[in-house]
Symmetry: D2
Subunit: 282 residues, 4 copies
């Protein structure tokens, strides 16, 4: 049963009208379909239907971090679940991890990171624009993970304070300028992740990664397509997001002068045929 | 510094020859490029290069759950990081969550789930074929998350034992037969996730979800494309995985006779323009 | 130099304001950027810039059948160049071909077909709704290919009049009901093409194709992604069309009772590695 | 009924064993499934089944230009139907057109172009490597369109001989070096098409197009996904071609010093909602 202070997800069968709402005594949630009192929602159970003052139904559901990160209040482009879900798996990440992020932006990714490092983990998030950092702080607070994050408001041109980090993630315009700083912050053998929207940025980032001795470099993009859900007329939606950003990953290793790493491994497609030979030796 | 019992990721600049290895005193790792002694690896540091007996270099890197889940020993198709990363964000999931899974299969997904629920969380994984369950158990053991998983070897035709679960995930041939059981196991307002490879299965699953009063039904697929990493010849790989499976999600709600949920919300594309209006009310 | 009666393509550097215009003495073309007199356009050359009465430039370019078919006046969904271009190559098609189409719809595809069969070719297009057929006729007239098309206004439940056709193309709601009629119209060894938007329709069409002894069955979809054209910020557009329709192709062959054609050839990916062995024997 | 000199398409229900064969008296076609005599094929009809000496069936089907261009004998990468079909529609192309191409390569695209310009049209194809040009000539001969093509064996650094061409298509490593030559060859208001595999090449080509005053610049890529054709297990193939090349198009216009064309129109997605306003004025 949801109570004051809880985030609830109000979902309407009418197309596209759904809300993430933090319940607050005396408040009212507006919608195109009418209004709902928070106190009424708090008197009901998850899974229940609440009717607006115009008689339109909304289902009271539980929120997920994916919905949350897509819907945070924001001043910047957000990072989408398709991308963040891959990032947290390809980086050395999970409960207890220490992760360094720059820039914070609106903090959607910060909240995702903080969600999955758990109470034993720690996210350090750098941002030079104070209003962004404050917004991200407020977004992390709403999701209940503020205590896991250290927000630092400053440029990273002088590097990160951290060392031996489990993962570093860069979402800045010029990541190539900070690959050296990221290298200093990472533990040996761990990975950096970078998100950039343009090919020109991939090009410069790849050059910087090689100049800094990173190995196992991978570049990829993820496309997500939704389907209409009428089982008798099953088909993809008419439109889809064609592009959010490209993901670049690489591992910090000791550059050995005599070893040519320029011929990077071609990233394995996720195909079982190809991977079948990659035995896990006990 | 890696030590006996640790999983290390051995990465070669030569294309496609990389290994996840659990260090074991006296063991030897073979490869197309020659052999490496585990004891030698254990005497080095992460980020170091070890040379095979033929002088070929391998970098000693840290593994990630993404690499691990793609490379588990297996008897079945695995679930790929692009899919599992989205699943754990769209379901109500994270450190401390209780998750029910069926079928266990080779346990790649089980290990991902167990990785992200942390020590306070719990995964219950059902599988009717004993050899699969045993393999999954061994795979979870290798990743160090065995203690977070309860493996149950039995058919789910009589339902799940659990109630009030944070999430249920079905990866079986006939998920439509178990939507009712999944509903019983889930807490109100929480979500089920289903993975199926064919459209015929989507069709039947959608019908079962509606018959069981699930709402906020979404169907989607994720495509991942790798790029060649030469910055002077930047381009996608020639081939890509065209299909792993379709993801279906829905939330458990109280069916209200007078409310038509057949006109499900069209899933929102992840486009900021469209989401901009979805305010988070404090 | 364009003259009265010619179709010209007016392209503005301002985003999205471009027009296909048939020049007509005394007419005026309106736009968000102001008006242009047709007589002024006809006094200029292709490649020239005409300024609107508000001083905004439009370039006078030549139209292509691709632009035309996307922009025909219409009452129905159009078929896009990505799809029609593949169709005319996979079917036995080209100058001189005889092609049967049903339904006519708004005639975008009819005009494409008529464009590529040339003056020696012939398109027969069936449509039961008279207003659609009339619109398609007018669209073919505008593109200058009306004389190559025979429009038939009637249902095809009694079959097509044609025999020995080079190709049959179906764009109707229930193609499975007309596979037999299409078979009668086709010459032996030639191909049918079908466009359907839903998976349920693919399923039924595949069953009908097999019941009618068609072989070399292929199902495919084409996705097109545009890129932003700033060379310094090269990246895909934010949104793309996720779905127009699925294409189904099959060849008319003599069903042989003892030969199982149920195990259809898996369509070859367009990859040179795989095709390299498909020698053309002189 | 096929006769000596005809190209026939032999299709086997066994996966992936199909052939384009030119019938020649006394010849024998081999396959993994046994041999077939050309004289036997010529005594049968299209749509018939011929059995190999091992009793395996092959269906005798008619070839299409799409199948042909994918299967030409070749020394180079071919251009695939998904791409060539779009090219011939976006360029000002069709029966009677005069088209200039460089380089010829193995001539797959040359044959497609020659197929669709018809007997009144003309293709001029430049190639500096004589063996490529000779192979392309032989490929055009086999498809029966040799008489429509003029093969020129020489570098184009001194430009094309043609003027007022309906279309120019470049498939060379450094298209940016020949944009000026292409401009000279094109008629005003007509379009150039360029195919390049890498982003670095797109970048340089876009710069050259703008320096040469081209307008209506569009960059796009086409992805094709095949499906398995079992109607009861409908699903995409496991693997697909992830990349063939990027297509660039632009129209030749008169550069006007005072008009900024740098803010190019964003290419319209092929979505009817967006195009609905693009009226065709009669």
């Amino acid at each position: 049963m949801p109570s004051a202070g809880d985030l609830v997800f109000l979902w309407s069968p009418a197309k596209g009208d759904s809300f993430l709402v933090r319940l607050s005594p005396g408040s009212v949630q507006g919608s195109h379909l009418g209004q709902m009192k928070h106190d009424d929602i708090a008197s009901m159970e998850y899974g229940d239907v609440i009717l607006t003052n115009r008689g339109e139904p909304f289902f009271i559901l539980r929120p997920s971090i994916g919905e949350y990160s897509r819907r945070v209040k924001r001043l910047t482009q957000v990072i989408f679940p398709k991308d963040s879900g891959f990032i947290i798996q390809h980086l050395n990440f999970g409960p207890g991890a220490t992760v360094v992020e720059c820039g914070t932006g609106s903090g959607g990714m910060t909240s995702v990171f903080a969600h999955f490092v758990g109470d034993e983990g720690r996210v350090v998030s750098y941002e030079k624009r104070e209003e962004f950092s404050k917004l991200a702080e407020s977004n992390a607070e709403r999701w209940g993970v503020r205590h896991r994050v250290e927000f630092k408001i400053r440029d990273i041109k002088d590097g990160f304070d951290e060392r031996e980090a489990d993962a570093v993630f860069l979402d800045v315009k010029n990541p190539w300028d900070f690959i050296g700083a990221a290298r200093d912050a990472l533990a040996w053998g761990n990975r950096i992740g970078v998100l950039v929207p343009t090919f020109n940025q991939i090009e410069k980032t790849l050059e910087a990664l090689r100049d800094n001795g990173f190995v196992d470099v991978q570049v990829l993009e993820l496309l997500m397509r939704y389907f209409k859900t009428d089982p008798k007329r099953l088909r993809p939606d008419d439109m889809m997001t064609a592009h959010t950003g490209f993901l670049i990953f690489a591992a910090k290793a000791k550059a050995i002068p005599d070893i040519d790493i320029s011929g990077q491994e071609e990233a394995l497609p996720d195909a079982p045929e190809i991977e079948a030979g990659d035995a896990l030796v006990p």
